[in-house]
């Protein structure tokens, strides 16, 4: 077939809108995008190859360096996989503290993703508001875990630091502060007429296409697919929550799903703090041999770890499937196609919240 494209338009790898290097090649006719292809491979470090043959004490720190934005969930899924494999019990207080750390991480990750989107559609004011709220969430994470980004908070059989009484007060009062802010910014986003023009009805991912591309996380939930692995997690089942689902499937829906999930996460943390059981935070245990496939819900979707360890707790084989690769596929092959303006290409790609460090490892 004869090619009818005008310009093959490359975006990246170094681009003002991209936080990480990725190249997006769009075949365009006029300003209409006919076809898009993603070129990955700028950040492949081979972390799974480093992990093989090392004891879990080292792999635990490597696991959270797969992705800096969602480091808590990488740590959590790896540690829960090791625990499930070796039959190590977790004290109830530690399980609740893990949920608090995970939800705080989800809040900061979603706010950063929405900041990137607002920055890409050149609405810097809202972006700066969101970054400011994110700093408060980062402060809470630092108070709870002792570090801002790479925390290594969870270890087999519990967590490393307890929540003191004054931390309890500070976390709940800060949540009271940021909740009205989040509500205000959500309203600003949903009612802003110019934001609506750049977001509503752009980059539509229908439910059929989302299923074809195996979209996960907020991208899938914005297209009407009710999928959230937190509903299968025992601690979350005890606390109780309902996944946020929207049916529009456009850029607006994806950003709104993240805003609503931040509000949902604040609710989860409040319920955790109210029902925080007393007792030990570490019960100990020995990591043994076994094979397991363990899943968890990262801020961007479903995260899968396949682990195989020997009797000394050394990782013999490991394979990781991160959520971003499916969302990038959905973004490049379904959302961007038919975009009527090249300015919408970057904002549509960013709205799927691609994390290249996760994808390539």
């Amino acid at each position: 077939m004869k090619k009818v494209v005008d310009v093959s338009f490359p975006v990246g790898p170094v681009h003002p809108c991209w936080k990480e290097p990725v190249r997006l090649k769009c075949e365009t006719k006029g300003e209409k995008v006919l076809q898009a292809e993603v070129e990955l491979g700028y950040m492949k470090k081979g972390i799974e190859r480093i992990m093989r043959g090392r004891p879990w004490q080292e792999v635990m720190f490597l696991a959270e360096r797969i992705c800096g934005i969602c480091s808590v969930i990488h740590n959590m899924v790896f540690i829960e996989g090791m625990e499930a494999m070796s039959g190590i019990p977790v004290p109830p207080r530690a399980a609740y503290l893990r949920v608090i750390a995970n939800e705080l991480d989800r809040i900061q990750s979603h706010l950063l993703a929405n900041f990137s989107y607002c920055y890409t559609i050149e609405h810097e004011t809202l972006g700066m508001y969101l970054l400011n709220v994110r700093e408060k969430a980062m402060d809470l994470l630092e108070r709870l875990t002792g570090a801002r980004v790479n925390k290594a908070y969870m270890i087999p059989g519990g967590v490393r630091f307890d929540l003191q009484a004054e931390d309890h007060v500070i976390i709940s009062s800060t949540l009271d502060q940021i909740e009205p802010d989040i509500m205000r910014y959500t309203r600003m986003f949903s009612e802003g007429p110019l934001i609506g023009l750049r977001s509503r009805g752009i980059g539509i991912l229908s439910e059929v296409h989302a299923r074809e591309a195996h979209a996960v996380g907020p991208t899938a939930r914005a297209s009407g697919i009710r999928t959230d692995l937190r509903t299968q997690h025992p601690t979350y089942q005890k606390i109780g929550f309902s996944p946020v689902v929207r049916t529009e499937g456009d850029n607006f829906a994806r950003v709104m799903v993240r805003f609503q999930e931040v509000a949902e996460s604040i609710g989860i943390i409040r319920r955790c703090l109210d029902g925080l059981p007393e007792g030990l935070i570490r019960s100990g245990g020995v990591c043994g041999a076994g094979t397991i496939t363990h899943r968890g819900e990262a801020p961007r979707g479903e995260l899968t770890y396949y682990l195989k360890a020997d009797e000394y707790g050394r990782i013999v084989d490991i394979s990781i499937q991160t959520p971003s690769i499916m969302n990038i596929e959905a973004s490049a092959h379904y959302m961007i196609i038919g975009a009527t303006s090249l300015a919408d290409v970057t904002s549509t790609f960013i709205s799927a919240d691609p994390c290249i460090a996760c994808t390539e490892r």
């Binding site: 003002p16 990480e20 290097p21 950040m43 081979g46 950063l112 970054l131 790479n150």
Partner: protein, 151 residues
Amino acid sequence: MSLLQRVKNVVRSRSIHVCFVDVGSCNGCDIEVLATLAPRYDIEQYGIYVHNNPREADILLVIGAMTPQWEDKLPALWERIPEPKAAIAIGNCPISGCVFQRRDTYVSAPVAKFIPVAAEVPGCPPRPTEILSAILSLAPTVFKDFEERRR
């Protein structure tokens, strides 16, 4: 000192354009560089603008442990930045490779093998304040009297 040089000094002291390039990190340092934009740290009050465009940059922030894809691209990108320019290595990865510098990996740290690095900010990741103070303390040593010193 010529008048032109004095004018240039004044202008350059309050207008530093920053480009950051990720050459294979875990994303942790990227989000700390982005956090410097936040109103709490407010990088723009010092006249530093994060544009992420190498052609108008003065300072290049290099993040990451140098993957094979970047070995030819990073020197090419460095060539595109107009003089006067400086590179700052953010985090442990561009300095030593951090956890990625092991047997069987694809990385080839340090970044100083490929481009001249003027300053290093260690940490995994460094705090936004440290990144900010590194840029602020490096800028006068590079940009002040640049043409006069060169002559």
